[in-house]
Each structure stands twice: as structure tokens, then as C-alpha cells.
Amino acid sequence: MKDLISLDSLTDIVSNSVGILIIFAVINLIHDDNKTYQLEIPIEHATELSPVFFISKDDHLLQMDTDKLFANATLQATNGAAANKRLFPLDYSGLLGKIDQDNGISFYARDTTEWDPFQDIDKRQSKLRQKLDSINPKTHFAYFFVYDSSENGAAIGSGFEAFRKAREYLKTRAIKTGWQPVNSEAPTHICDRSFSPRCAYLPSYLGSQ
């Protein structure tokens, strides 16, 4: 029995073979230049659906309750806090507002700690998921104002990732999405077409059929 074939050699051979195969696969992977990504082609289109607004910044998402925001803004405006394009607090997750002739009402986002992190989309009972699920695809679509960089100008921490995640999820719920990039110099704003032809909030990505 002591003369049985030792498995150590066989193990060595097998593990070496596997290792080499993996290395070859890695080399192939690194030198694979021919990856083609087919981008989904978004085109803005006219719609009868109403927009539900979101802001996406620093990996966080904030749903804008326009009724509350406009009510608070109206209160501030009647008290004179909005005169001469001053920034005024909106008492809504740290947003500041500004009213002017070119942009209607602009919303400046500073601290996003009170907002929902986009990873919450994967959690079934999360508030963010509930907010997204409450959008009725027959009457509404989601419109995102997406910060294209974080506060210090770095690309990491922009709202792109959060927006993409939300868009993917909403697509599975057959909810259309639209978006536009914003930053601290050109912040989120809501205006009417009488201000500018750019004051149009249209969907460009279709929900899955």
C-alpha cells in the first residue's frame, strides 16, 4: 500500500495547467482591442406624460416634490427673500433657490448627505425604490438633472453613475427617462418655454415594452 501512486505530482501538473490557461486568458483579455459597445440611442420626443424631477449628484439621488418646492419658493418670494437674484433656502434637503428672468427658478444643491444613495435602488424596502416605483408610466416619466462632476471638479463622484443605475431600473418598470447635465455654474432649473426654447423637459430613453 505504501507503493500507491502519489497524487502530489498529478496535482502539481493539473494546477500548473490551470494556472497557465488562466494566464493566457488574461493576456487575451488585456489585448482584446475589438470590444464594441452598442450605445442605446436616445432621442428626445414630444410627450403627453408629465415629468417627475430628480437631481443626481455625488452618487446620491433626490426626488423633487415640485408642489412643496414651489410652495416654499412662493413663500420666500412673497417675503422678498428672492429679490435681486438672491439665493434663498427652500427647506428641502439642503436646496437653495434663485429666481431670475433667464432660468425661471434655479436649484442649487450643496450637501447631499440627506439624499438617497443610489445603491438603495437594489434594496427592495428602501425609500428611493419606493419613490421610483410610485411613478405611473401611463401618466409620468422621470427627468434627471445630472451633475457632471463633483464639488472639487473631479470626475469621480458625479451624478452619472447614479443616473445610469436609476435609468436601468426604470427601464425595467417601463418608465421613460430624460436628462440634462448640470453643474454649479449651470444648475438645475425649471422654466417655461416663454423663457427660452431650452425650457423643455422631454423623455429620451424608452421604458422596456
Binding site: T47, D67, T74, D102, C199, Y201, P203
Partner: protein, 544 residues
């Protein structure tokens, strides 16, 4: 043999004596004594103890020899242990050294790579700032130059538009740079917008008499009595920020389908703001949304209620809107007398705004267009419809500068005219000329392209230009494939009525009706169904 043995026994001791520098003839006892002395100095030496044991054995001291042999074993054991420990320590040190070497060789390079990568990442990710001297907006000379140019532009504008006032104090306090301000003035309708804004401000002052009743009163109906809450009459200056905010709020209400929500929004905003006379336009805007929403749902009572509320705001800019909705909803309700009265009021309102010079020619032209549409849709009066459209076109032709508003109204009028041309089966040259104008307007949305192509297809069918009809039909089908929502505002009822007289051939008329049905944007059917219906017409065409 014994001699050899003897020689062999004595040999080791000879060597031993030589090693210890003893004479070769030293006796075993002396040798033993010497060895024992040595042992006193080195009691643990196993070799020495062994030699003593051998000497003792040769001397016949067997017990002593046995004892010494045991001592040898013991000493060896201790030494062995000591050697083992020493070896273990050496191994430990060697292992520790190897570990340190391994760490150095593997981790350091990885750490270095990580640091370099992080440094590179941070460097690449930071956007390059624009050098101060290269940024023309910051360059002092350019700004000075822009200011000079701005002054020149404004002086020229003032000469050209004496009725406008340019508020320099506002300009001084706002945050626009001279470049931005000039750009804002360069927008095509900037001056028109400025005119309208100032006119609206004036209208809001002049639109009412002292009793707060609207100045316009239709001769065909009794004066309406407006409840106090519907009349914006709170005192005070126009709150600029509030007005801008409410104008922005229009984009929220634009597509709102819950009419009750719009109604309650208007109520709560009214309670919060207490509408001032100078802000009546905003109330009118919101009431217009409410009317449109209730009309869309064909709620007769609510449409009339909010139309009257709209009227009570006293805004001259919405008079026509009031009577449009009243005409349409009364017609829908089957009350043709009231519909007719409302239409007559619409016409009077159009005359009123035309005479007052407070509205742009494009605005007036648009009202004539609407008048023509009402006449045709609800009263089957093609003559009045054509007449109104011609009036509208003539007004637009007299306007020298084609602003975006003018182009928009012209586009709408051209499409209406196209419909009348198809109904009248006008000559090919006139038809093609109008079609080229429409195609070159640069304003056709996808929805209106479908309307246009539907009319064009029917015209080609009427005139048996079947090859051309096939092409436009294919275009319609292809557009529906890529159209997520079919949005348009087009009422086909008048055109459908006209088909009976305009197309003699019953077969072609049937196909034309099918085309109209598939292009009806108020009928909610999936685009795939619309595409299938084009295939039915296409199949008929292929047999021709």
C-alpha cells in the same frame, strides 16, 4: 592475532596521548588521572567522558566504566538538544529573513504601482483650468470693448424702438456680463419679448375700467358678473419674482392630466398670493390650463366655469381663448345656439384686439386662423374659413421681419391652407408651391409631418398619382415605427365631412377615410395598429 589486537587496543590511547601531549609510555592510570583532571574543567564533554570510560574499561573498572558510558549518553543528549535548539534558532532567523525579503520584493513594488497609479489618476482627473490671460471673458480689455459695444447697441435699439424703455439700473445691478447681455439681446425675439412684456404690463393697467370689469364686452351676450374671488384686485406693485416663479410653474402644469389637481393648485396659490391687479396675467395663465384640461376631458360644466373665471381675470390676451373653449364645448354639448353666440363673440374679440394695436400682428393673424378653424370645424362654413385664413396670411405677408412667432403662426396657417387645398382639390402647381413652403418652414415636428403626409397622400390619390402616394405612405409607416408618442393637435372632423364633396370616386374616398382614421391623433391606438392600417391602403394601391 593477539598482538594485533593488542596493538589495536593501544592505538587509540596512543593517539589520545599524542593529542594531550603525554609521553607514549604513560600508564593507563596516569592517563585516567589526566583525563579526570581535564573533566573537572569540562565536565560535560562527552568525548572526554567516553575516553575515561574506555580507560576505566581497560583498567577493569567495569562499574565505573558503565557509569561513565551512561554519563556519555546523557552529555550527548544534552548536546544534541543544544544543537537542535541552536539549529531551530538559526532556522527561525533564516525564515524571518526570508519573510522580510519576500515582503520587500513583492509588497514594495505593488505599493509603488498603487501610488503611481493613484497619482496619475488624480492628475488626469483634474480638469485643466483655463489660464487667466487666455480666457477672453476675464480679459479686461475685451470686457471694456464689450461694454463700449453694448452702449452702442442699446443706443441704436432705442432709436429704432422709441416706445421701448431700457432699464439701465436693472442692467447695472444684475449679474450678466456685457457679453451675456449682448447675446441675450441678439436672440431673435428678444426685442419682441421685451415689447410684449412692456405691453402686458401696460395692458394689466389699462384692461379694466374703474369698477374692475373687463373692458371688452361682447355685444351678443349679457355682461357677466364675476365673484370677488375671481377678480385679481389686491393692491400693490407687481411682484417680479412671484410672477417669474408662476411663469416657471406653467411647465409643471403643462402636461398635468389631473384637472382637479390644477383646480386645487390655482385655489391654494390664490390664497397664498392674494392676486394683485398687476399680476392678473398669471392667474389667467393658470385658469387657461384648467380650461384646457377640463375641455380635453369634455367636462362641460367645469369647462364653462373655468372659462368664465378666465374671463373674469380681465386679461385681454385671453379673450379669444375664452370664446374658443365656449364655442367648442357648447358644440360638443349639442347647444348650437350658444355655440354660435360664442363664435360671434370670438369674432368680435378678434376685431377688438386688432383695433387696439396692443397685440403683435402675428398674434392677430393667429386669432384669424383660429376663427377660420372654428368656422369650418363647427359650422361647416368653408367660405368664412377660407376668408379668415386669407386675412391671416395677408397680415403675415405685411410683416417685414420674420420673428420666430411669425414663422410659427405662418406654419400653422400653411397647414390649415393645405387642408383646404386638398378639400378643394386645387391645381397641382399651387399645391406643390404651398407644399415646398411647408417643407422649408423648419418647424415641422414628427407629428405634424404625419399630418402633412396624410393630406399629401390623399391629394395624390385624388389625382391618381399612385406612385407618389406609395412613397408618402411608406414614409408615414416608417415614421410611426420610430415615433414613441404620436402627438399633434389636429381635428379631422371638418376635413372628413368635406371628403364627400371633394372626392367623387367612392373607392378612393374609402381609402382617404382610412388614411384620416389612421392619422387621427386623438384616437388612442398603438402605432403598430396605425402601421397595419397603412399596409391595407398600400395593398389597395399595389392593385392599381
Amino acid at each position: 592475532m593477539p598482538n594485533n589486537k593488542k596493538n589495536n587496543v593501544k592505538a587509540p590511547f596512543r593517539l589520545l596521548k599524542a593529542n594531550w601531549n603525554l609521553a607514549p609510555d604513560t600508564s593507563l592510570e596516569d592517563l585516567l588521572s589526566h583525563a579526570q583532571n581535564k573533566l573537572n574543567n569540562d565536565p560535560e564533554n562527552p568525548e572526554l567522558i567516553y575516553n575515561i570510560a574506555e580507560i576505566q574499561r581497560h583498567l577493569g573498572e567495569l562499574d565505573a566504566a558503565n557509569s561513565s558510558y551512561k554519563d556519555v549518553v546523557q552529555a550527548t543528549h544534552v548536546k544534541t538538544e543544544q544543537r537542535s535548539l541552536a539549529l531551530e534558532n538559526r532556522l527561525k532567523r533564516a525564515r524571518s529573513h526570508t519573510h522580510k525579503k519576500l515582503l520587500l520584493v513583492t509588497l514594495l513594488p505593488l505599493l509603488a504601482i498603487a501610488l503611481i497609479a493613484t497619482a496619475l489618476w488624480n492628475t488626469l482627473a483634474v480638469p485643466e483650468p483655463i489660464p487667466e490671460e487666455a480666457n477672453p471673458e476675464k480679459f479686461a480689455f475685451t470686457e471694456w470693448l464689450a461694454k463700449q459695444q453694448m452702449v452702442q447697441i442699446i443706443t441704436t435699439l432705442q432709436k429704432q424702438n422709441p416706445e421701448l424703455s431700457f432699464d439701465f439700473s436693472r442692467q447695472a445691478s444684475n449679474k450678466q456680463s456685457p457679453m451675456e447681455f449682448m447675446q441675450s439681446l441678439m436672440r431673435e425675439d428678444a426685442i419682441q419679448k421685451m415689447k410684449r412684456d412692456q405691453q402686458n404690463a401696460k395692458n394689466n393697467k389699462d384692461a379694466k375700467n374703474k369698477n374692475g370689469q373687463p373692458l371688452f364686452q361682447c355685444s351678443k351676450e349679457a355682461a357677466i358678473s364675476c365673484p370677488a374671488k375671481d377678480i385679481p384686485n389686491a393692491p400693490g406693485e407687481r411682484r417680479k419674482e412671484v410672477v417669474l416663479l408662476m411663469e416657471a410653474y406653467r411647465s409643471i402644469l403643462e402636461n398635468e392630466q389631473d384637472c382637479e389637481k390644477i383646480e386645487s393648485s390655482i385655489r391654494s396659490i390664490g390664497e397664498q398670493l392674494q392676486w394683485r391687479e398687476s399680476e392678473s396675467r398669471i392667474k389667467a395663465d393658470l385658469e387657461d390650463f384648467a380650461v384646457e384640461c377640463f375641455y380635453r376631458t369634455k367636462n362641460v360644466e367645469k369647462t364653462i366655469e373655468h372659462a368664465r373665471k378666465l374671463q373674469c381675470t380681465g386679461d385681454a390676451g385671453y379673450i379669444n381663448s375664452v370664446y374658443w373653449y365656449l364655442t367648442a364645448i357648447n358644440h360638443h354639448a349639442g347647444d348650437t345656439n350658444k355655440a354660435e353666440t360664442s363664435y360671434q363673440c370670438f369674432q368680435e374679440a378678434t376685431n377688438y384686439i386688432e383695433k387696439n394695436n396692443d397685440f403683435s400682428p402675428a398674434y392677430v393673424a393667429s386669432r384669424h386662423r383660429e376663427s377660420g378653424a372654428l368656422a369650418w370645424l363647427y359650422f361647416n362654413d368653408l367660405a368664412t374659413a377660407t376668408n379668415e385664413l386669407e386675412k391671416a396670411r395677408n397680415i403675415l405677408k405685411r410683416i417685414k421681419k420674420k420673428t420666430p412667432t411669425v414663422l410659427e403662426v405662418a406654419g400653422e396657417i400653411d397647414l390649415d391652407l393645405l387642408e383646404t387645398y386638398v378639400t378643394a382639390n386645387i391645381d397641382n402647381e399651387t399645391f406643390e408651391s404651398l407644399l415646398q413652403d411647408i417643407n422649408s418652414s423648419g418647424r415641422l415636428t414628427d407629428g405634424y409631418k404625419q399630418i402633412k403626409d396624410t393630406l399629401v397622400t390623399i391629394y395624390y390619390l385624388q389625382n391618381k398619382q399612385f406612385n407618389k402616394a406609395k412613397i408618402t405612405l411608406n414614409n408615414i409607416a416608417s415614421r410611426f415605427k420610430l415615433m414613441p408618442e404620436y402627438i399633434c393637435g389636429w381635428d379631422w372632423s371638418g376635413f372628413k365631412r368635406g371628403l364627400d364633396d371633394s372626392i367623387n370616386d367612392p373607392d378612393i374616398r374609402q381609402q382617404a377615410i382610412k388614411m384620416v382614421d389612421l392619422a387621427d391623433c386623438y384616437v388612442e391606438i398603438p402605432n403598430n395598429d396605425r402601421i397595419s392600417r397603412t399596409k391595407i391602403v398600400k395593398k389597395w394601391l399595389q392593385e392599381k
